[in-house]
């Protein structure tokens, strides 16, 4: 597709083939396609011209990007003191927020602690209530007065041995010596 064009090469002063041109990486090494002689306007020249047009776009883009980065660099350089101050200030602000948050959580813990104490006290009161309700005298009174239960007599005692009724023992319980 690409062939060596001696005239082109000689006019441009380059000692490389068109393929070399295509693979050239440094755009600054390439000639401007408009500077190429008319003798290069052939089929191959047309292709070469298309290539050079492409290279030209890339070159202009490169220039543009260089100028942008240079501009940014300059802007950055001029903003550096301001940015430094902003960073320091935001650092301080962050610390302040952290301290405030610590305080806020501290108060929250304090409130939760009070609430926990209330629950602990409530639990204590419940334990006392349970103890009062389960005291033997109370249970006995309730059993006798409300449930109409009577105290167990020895004749009602059934002895168990290994999970079974121990008849001998139960019988012994039912008989009194005196």
């Amino acid at each position: 597709m690409w062939a060596d064009c001696a005239s082109c090469v000689s006019q441009s002063g380059h000692q490389r083939s068109a393929r070399d041109l295509a693979t050239a990486t440094d755009l600054r090494d390439l000639p401007d396609p408009h500077d190429l002689p008319d003798s290069c306007v052939s089929e191959e020249r047309g292709e070469a011209l298309g290539f050079f047009q492409h290279v030209s776009v890339r070159q202009s883009l490169f220039k543009a990007s260089t100028s942008i980065s240079q501009s940014l660099y300059l802007i950055g350089k001029s903003l550096r003191p301001t940015l430094s101050i902003l960073v320091v200030l935001s650092g301080f602000l962050g610390l302040a927020i952290l301290r405030t948050e610590e305080r806020r959580i501290g108060y929250e813990i304090l409130d939760l602690g009070k609430e926990q104490n209330l629950f602990i006290e409530e639990r204590k009161r419940k334990v006392i209530q349970i103890a009062k309700l389960t005291r033997p005298q109370h249970v006995e009174n309730v059993a006798q007065a409300r449930s109409l239960l009577r105290k167990v007599t020895e004749a009602q005692v059934i002895h168990l041995q290994d999970g079974r009724v121990d008849k001998k023992a139960s019988q012994a319980s039912h008989r009194r010596l005196d």
């Binding site: 959580i105 501290g106 108060y107 926990q116 204590k124 009161r125 005291r135 041995q161 023992a169």
Partner: protein, 569 residues
Amino acid sequence: MRSRIILLFSGLAIFWSVAILRAGFLQLTPNDKLQSLASRQYKTTVALQARRGAILDRYGKDLALSETTFSLFADPSVIQKKRVLARKLSKELNISFDTILDRVSDSEKRFVWIQRQMSLEQRNRIQDLGLKGLGFIEEAKRVYPNESLLGNVIGFVGREGQGLEGLELSQNDQLTKNRRTLSVRRDARGRPLVVADQLFTEIDEGADLQLTIDMDLQHLLENEIRGAVHDFVADQAFGIVLEAKTSAILAVAMSPGMDPNHPHKTAAEHRRNRIVTDVFEPGSTMKTFAIAAALRENQVTPNKKYNTENGKFQIGRRIIREAEVKHQWPELTVSEILALSSNIGTSKIALEVGAEKLRRTFLDFGFGAKSGVDMPGEARGVVHNLPWNPHLLANISFGQGISVNFLQLANAYAAIANGGVLHQPFVVLAHKETDRVEIARPKPIRRVLTTEQASQMRMMLVGVTGAGGTGGNARVPGFLVGGKTGTAQKPNPLGKGYLPNAYISSFVGFIPAENPEYVILIAVDHPKERSYYGSSVAAPIFSRVASYAVRRQGLSPMLISMQGEGSVK
């Protein structure tokens, strides 16, 4: 004009320089007074209330607990409308208007109590009134949910939470911890700022005390003891249940008792734990130890016979008689002397043993010395110093002229029951703290009898509850019971001799006799109606308590007994 400006600026410069130098001086040079002033502005003290530990029975049931209450105080100097405040508070607190007005009337005062130990609900209601010049202080209040159950043993605390009587007094150091204070930074409104590792909810608690007491057994014993005072119109009555093998106290009852929630409603003499603080003449229950002394010295065997002089035995100018005039036995074996409670037989054995050896045996069994029980106020009792004349020796052998406390007596029987080793009785089973539990171990004091001698003593004591013995009413169907009755005359507290018709009826025994689990003592002081003999007053109570104890323990009866006959194994 310019010179004036220069002068003004110079003046200002000098003023500020001096101020800055002074500030620097104050800041950099140490000054305790200024530092304390500064720290007072940004520091506050948080008091962490230490709660008194609970008292529990052996199964963890609550016997004493602490709850938080709120005490109301007033600052009369800031109260503007004193009459309005008094009227509103009197409605809320059920205190008379005049009383409250009187308390807040002196505007010079900065602090007066209005009401102590109120509930949370009461506090909230008073806070809702929005009265100025009032404040609350949190205080712990001791609550005894079982009311008078074990009241004399547990004791009670004062208003400031300090133990005043019973275990609350003797275990005060374990039950309480000092109030802990934390110094922390505070904000402008005085609220403490929470700092890492400082949690205000971690309330220190004293150790919980777990007792050896079985609350259900205690309840039954107290019912029986109260019933005895009522039925026999007695002055007072006592009961103890010991674990035979370790001398752990399972139940202690006395009537009249005390409700530790309202100790001031009980007479002072009934507030103390009279089981250990009071002594009495034990009477015939002491005969056991006179015979044990003879066994120790190998001077008797259970079947050795003694001439019991047909009920009248003269020592010097004095005559020893049996308890009943009708008791005119010519001779009795040692077993029979114990079973029939012969004063003459016991006196003769004691005279053979001699005062020194008898006294030594009594001391070895723990009489005349504190048992070391972890209850306060224990009395030693009295075992007279030697020499003893023969009449005193005879009297002491059957329990007169000697005084013991009830626990000493029960513990001495426990030594016989467990095979001859005297243990230190104890009621505190464990101290429970959040991070450790300290469990009390049984403490053997000394061996007082060989295993063989203890076994012989048990066998003879079983004879007391056997056919013809004085302790027949102490029997428990299906179980062998050993023990001894006692009917001791009460000494005259105002002079020599004994009070007429005043007795302490008692029974001490163990069950099951072949392998004793429980030692039970029942004593009724001055029963005035129905009967006064230990065999008919105390022994039936023993039977009921022992029967419940073995059933509760799940022990199977080992005897099949027939009506009116002996026991067949």
